[in-house]
Symmetry: D3
Subunit: 130 residues, 6 copies
Amino acid sequence: MSRPGPIEYKDASAEVRAVFDDIKKSRNVPDVNNFWKYLAHDPAGLKRTWESIKQIMAPGALDPLVKEMIYVAVSVTNGCEYCIASHSAAARRAGMTEAMFGELVAIVGMANETNRLANGYRVPVDAAFE
Amino acid sequence: MSRPGPIEYKDASAEVRAVFDDIKKSRNVPDVNNFWKYLAHDPAGLKRTWESIKQIMAPGALDPLVKEMIYVAVSVTNGCEYCIASHSAAARRAGMTEAMFGELVAIVGMANETNRLANGYRVPVDAAFE
Amino acid sequence: MSRPGPIEYKDASAEVRAVFDDIKKSRNVPDVNNFWKYLAHDPAGLKRTWESIKQIMAPGALDPLVKEMIYVAVSVTNGCEYCIASHSAAARRAGMTEAMFGELVAIVGMANETNRLANGYRVPVDAAFE
Amino acid sequence: MSRPGPIEYKDASAEVRAVFDDIKKSRNVPDVNNFWKYLAHDPAGLKRTWESIKQIMAPGALDPLVKEMIYVAVSVTNGCEYCIASHSAAARRAGMTEAMFGELVAIVGMANETNRLANGYRVPVDAAFE
Amino acid sequence: MSRPGPIEYKDASAEVRAVFDDIKKSRNVPDVNNFWKYLAHDPAGLKRTWESIKQIMAPGALDPLVKEMIYVAVSVTNGCEYCIASHSAAARRAGMTEAMFGELVAIVGMANETNRLANGYRVPVDAAFE
Amino acid sequence: MSRPGPIEYKDASAEVRAVFDDIKKSRNVPDVNNFWKYLAHDPAGLKRTWESIKQIMAPGALDPLVKEMIYVAVSVTNGCEYCIASHSAAARRAGMTEAMFGELVAIVGMANETNRLANGYRVPVDAAFE
């Protein structure tokens, strides 16, 4: 295989291990997901991405479950299977029930539909929305 | 202009007026948005779309504010200006503060970023997510 | 303005004029659309694009109206306003009625919706489709 | 597996079975596709989606083959493998030859190309298209 | 107008001004672009985004001109007019000629086309690429 | 299997073989990739696509490595796995190091993020970019 594979903890540099350690501690998990093991090929990107996600997904004006569901909505729209799988799992861990998941996917589907109806008819933005 | 323009209430068929009336009553607004006035060129589609949205966006396992924010997340990802404008306005009416909007847009941006990091490294889905 | 504007016939090189002439003759129009006037900044690309479109959009196993409607379907999905406007106009010239346009946009909307339902539930392809 | 799998007829609720029965009868098939078996986790969404598709895909101003090809065009643009597979199969059943499929994919490719050429040069919409 | 407008320097908080000052100094410009003035509604996001961009777009294994052209390629693919405009301008400042721009847009168009040809035929990845 | 599979050289028409021969000669490879073997179902499209790619990807104002990286950027944005795999391999053959790949993917991710930040805040294009 000529393309990069995952970098496991035992093979990682000190810089990468420091990020892996922080992910494991913050999330209370024994190992990091594949996403981080591949991103480890770019140690600066690994650190920057993790720190950005940690900041963005922390509880704030929106709670963590809502944040994870928004993440799923984007990933489903883009058709990114890895992110659909990982963030659906994260949303379930944060309390998403199957009823909530069903409603989430239904809204994502509907929004993708009406986005195109608006495009197709070239609907001008109402003055009230400006 | 050769392409279809908006259909105003006074020019609408009885079938279209019935939908416009239900939108105005359900949302307690004096007139419908441009989206509906253009979609009125397809009366069956107008009725079907409105009834689907009414069902999907009703309070359920998810509350209306969360639903509107998910709608915004999809619309921002797709770059549909009309839907960004109309559903951001709807989310604000449902209680979205500017702090919540800032977090929403930040998550949408981040998810769009990590979707592509996962694509670029062709990260396989972890067994734990299956 | 620092970015390139349209190149009009009178200012065009012989290479660009030859393509413009062929477009005008093939389509029986007095002038080319803005698309070609901008693409003229890349004469090789102008010629290649025109020849590809002429080949692809010619009557074949599919008739020109169906071809234009497929073009609209893609453009609406991508939210490309220029192409929605120009190919909707071309489809109307090729015989698309407003009823056909309404059905076209409805299918595009529905397909965009069910694409995301399939993504969200990560539905595996049925053996019958392989 | 923590994520939802397909719901088979024998395990389905009466509400879901009623939709499955209507799909099987309408399409004259012995079983429904995976898409419906997953969507069955959201019975209201299952019913709404099936009724919308049945209405939209029925013969109208456009014939069923053209409708299926438009569906394929959207699915190919979005890269939704499930929908590409299922609607290509449906289009073939409705009479799409391989020559027609080749032309369809060629148009979808070309439209995706020129959408970006129009974006890249920021081509303004011609007055004639308004 | 109910939606947020740009935040000008004179109206900005100390936190926002610090980022604006760093942008102006790093880029040697008298004022920041609209992008930053709107993002200023989310001061934490403003700071994080600026620091990420500064890190990512700095000279590294790739030179700044190539980096800007990659940025344009993504923005054209997504149809984000603001980013097409701002990063095309940045690429020109970094030395992009019109011939280079023409080739860039042509590649972006072609890649968008062949991405869909690969989708349409559901081409399996060659073993040699794994 | 009802859908078209790859067409191997030994089963190809003279028209298809001529294109396969030119690809093998131009790239100095013993066989063509799957992409071409599937596209061979549309001989006119095969020839047109190969000739367009040969013209577009030839050394010009941009060198072949930069061209391949732009191709990867588009493919990653669209999530086209086949094209990500094939063009990442091509870029590596053209000299892309892992450090360059890491920066490329990071820019693609960042651009996808800021495209949505610009969408979300509906940032107007600065006069300086017109």
